[in-house]
Amino acid sequence: MTLAKKPYKKPLAKKMYPYFFIMPFALLVLVFFILPAIATIMMSFTDLNASMKINFVGFDNFKRIFTDYSMPQILWNTVLFAVITLVFSLFFGLFISIATQYFLKGKLAAVIYRVLWLIPSIIPAVVYVTFWKYLFDPTGDGLINKVLHLFQPEGDPISWFTKIAMAIVIIATIVSTTSGGMILLSAAISSIPEDLYKAAKVDGASEKSVITKIILPSLKWPLMYITISDLIGFVSSYFFILLLTNGGPMRDTTTLSLYAYQQAFNLKYYGYGAALSLLVVLISLILTLWLLRLFDFDEMIKPSRIED
């Protein structure tokens, strides 16, 4: 603290100064991210299982990934799940935030809608899935089958979880993850000065052009952030799927990260699980780098203007 008062500062101290600010964080990252990451990479070259004996097997695990006959299907499931979920949750996030922060700005209804949408994301997953299990229950007790029964008293109850498992998983995930994007987008829209809207209105701009010309352009950064973090989230998420379908029927809803989880945790093949999860990481990394380029990330980091 007294450094700044001294007439002659040591250049080294000055240089080091910013690092003091990031030191605690850097240390954490080193110990709880970089070290485990290295350890996980090493694990993926072993056949580590319940016995916890480390036995290096070279590239065997990776060879196995590339020869695994179910891999194309699993990768396809992952893409399908991540892309559809992303598109819909972005769409709903955008729709709700524009509706509540532009059309209904300041209204009580806006708060109510936002609170309602937030609820699925804060309900603990184990409780959350019970609703979907009930909704799509294959016996006549399920809500949808009950409703169908009213229209078709003769029809048999439909086994939803074997017919449209992927759709159920996707819908449940969308409803639960929309609010994350909604919060950030609402915030960004609310920070647009009212004057801009007024000026547009005076110019006789339509609602459509207010949305496309004023609102959407101001959402570039939050959209980037949400796209990247949601996409990575979907590629690496497995928990809803685990609880709803456990990847079934067959491997119809098994995504790569669920497969990795099953190998490591259900089947106790930690080495192979580590190799699979590195593949998840690789995909996420490529996606992130690609999206960062697409959104022109470097521009976001402004240079500091104070030179002391």
Binding site: N49, A50, M52, S159, T162, M250, D252, K268
Partner: protein, 459 residues
């Protein structure tokens, strides 16, 4: 500055709080520490035994009672044991906590877990079981359950079997007389009534709209069906999983049952709880579950306190048989998933006698029946089956004979992944309309890829 100071203070307070929270967590790890004054003023040696288990049924009560009985016996030797109770956890946590040196002296898990637990270094042998009084004259099936690679590794804590629960009303609806219904079990026992006939009955009952669903099953991998088709999948001599042609026969049954509507596409979603609900409503022809299903229905009917009422209900609405043999003249089968008491790898030979005494007392006849009453599981030993309270419960008493020939899942390490491949084939039949041959093809491919080659025999 004030804020900074305040912040520091709060961080320090929280650190002390944290430290407070973390102490005591490792306390009670088995040690011959502590001392207690005995009646004559001498110091008693205290042996702490950590037991990890959930309170399911009367398991916890039984351990505590056993502790008392052991201590009574040990007074003369000037030794006392003390149980340190840890709550039960999942397998992943067992493995991880072992890495952090936290392994209970005694814990309970399924018999299927011997293989990997041994491999993970969690358990040690309990060869005293072979000579223990408790297991005198035990049925041969017990040896298969508790032994693995020539050693005993677990002590059976409770048993079950897999009776098939059939709707009596549905049989009546099919025109069966009371006498015909009542003698069905004897015909199954004698191998006169076959599995195929049961499938036909279910089919008939569903077609006549007597029931909504033919068969319900606790899990699509249900071993009772595997065993009746002689699909045992395991070679104990080599301790390897076996890829055999017999699996295709099971798939053929599934395909046939699916085509005739005896099993529904969503059968995997109907768990035991829901099946009990359907069975009570008379919508299910037969449920393939295990002994506890009797208790599950009793609870759902709200008759936990009313044995006579429930027995009357059961008599009126249900009968049970073992899983029938597929061939005329064959033997019926049963499948069980008993819980074994395991002894942690860290228990040394010096401590083992005390652990042994504790486990032996947990298996005292009266305690076993306490557990049966609470859990709906069968007692393990013949002595317990003679308990008058057990004799009173006709359902349990009558089907205890299944224990003689019941089979359990192999304790092979890679059994879980093998079964995943097996159910993949069933899913293919149920949800993708594949034929048994296609399903078997898929199963073969999946097993060969996923089960480690040194754990597999291809027939």
């Amino acid at each position: 500055m004030k804020k900074l100071a305040l912040g520091l203070v709060s961080v320090i307070t929280s650190m002390t709080l944290l430290a407070g929270c973390s102490t005591g967590s490792n306390s009670g790890v088995a040690a011959n520490g502590g001392a207690e004054a005995s009646s004559n003023g001498e110091k008693m040696k205290e042996v702490v035994i950590s037991v990890r288990e959930n309170t399911w049924g009367a398991r916890k009560d039984n351990f505590l009672e056993a502790e008392k009985r052991v201590n009574e016996e040990l007074k003369a030797e000037n030794v006392q044991i003390k149980i340190d109770w840890w709550p039960g956890i999942g397998d992943d946590e067992l493995i991880l906590q072992a890495q952090a040196n936290k392994v209970a002296d005694v814990f309970i898990n399924s018999s299927v877990d011997i293989g990997w637990q041994l491999n993970a270094g969690l358990i040690r042998d309990v060869d005293w079981v072979g000579t223990s009084d408790v297991f005198k004259n035990m049925p041969e099936s017990y040896n298969n359950i508790m032994k693995y690679e020539d050693h005993y590794y677990g002590v059976i804590q409770d048993m079950d079997a897999s009776p098939v629960f059939i709707s009596r009303k549905a049989l009546e609806g099919l025109g069966w007389t009371a006498a015909q219904i009542d003698e069905l079990k004897a015909r199954v026992d004698a191998g006169i009534f076959t599995f195929g006939e049961l499938v036909d009955l279910a089919d008939e009952a569903a077609k006549q709209k007597l029931v909504k669903i033919g068969f319900g099953v606790e899990d699509t991998r249900f071993e009772g069906w595997n065993y009746t088709f002689d699909n045992y999948n395991y070679s104990a001599e080599e301790n390897k999983m076996v890829l055999s042609k017999n699996t295709e026969k099971v798939y053929e049954f599934w395909q046939d049952a699916k085509q005739r509507g005896v099993v529904t596409e969503g059968i995997a979603e109907i768990d035991t709880d829901k099946a009990a609900e359907l069975f009570i409503k008379g919508e299910l022809f037969a449920e393939f579950a295990r002994t506890e299903f009797y208790q599950v229905m009793r609870t759902q009917l709200g008759m936990d306190e009313d044995l006579t009422g429930y027995e009357a209900w059961f008599k009126e609405n249900a009968i049970w048989i073992p899983v029938p043999s597929v061939e005329q003249g064959g033997k019926p089968v049963s499948y069980s998933n008993p819980a074994l008491v395991y002894v942690g790898a860290k228990v040394d030979d010096e401590k083992m006698p005390y652990v042994q005494k504790l486990i032996e007392h947990v298996l005292d006849a009266d305690l076993q029946i306490n557990h049966t009453l609470k859990s709906g599981k069968l007692p393990v030993t013949a002595a317990a089956q003679e308990d008058p309270r057990f004799q009173e419960m006709s359902f349990y008493k009558d089907h205890a004979y299944l224990i003689e020939f019941t089979k359990t899942r192999p304790a092979q390490m890679d059994y879980a992944v093998y079964m995943k491949s097996f159910t993949l084939g069933i899913d293919a039949i149920l949800t993708k309309g594949q034929t048994a041959a296609q399903a078997f093809e898929l199963f073969q491919k999946d097993v060969k890829q996923n089960v480690p080659a040194d754990s597999l025999i291809v027939e």
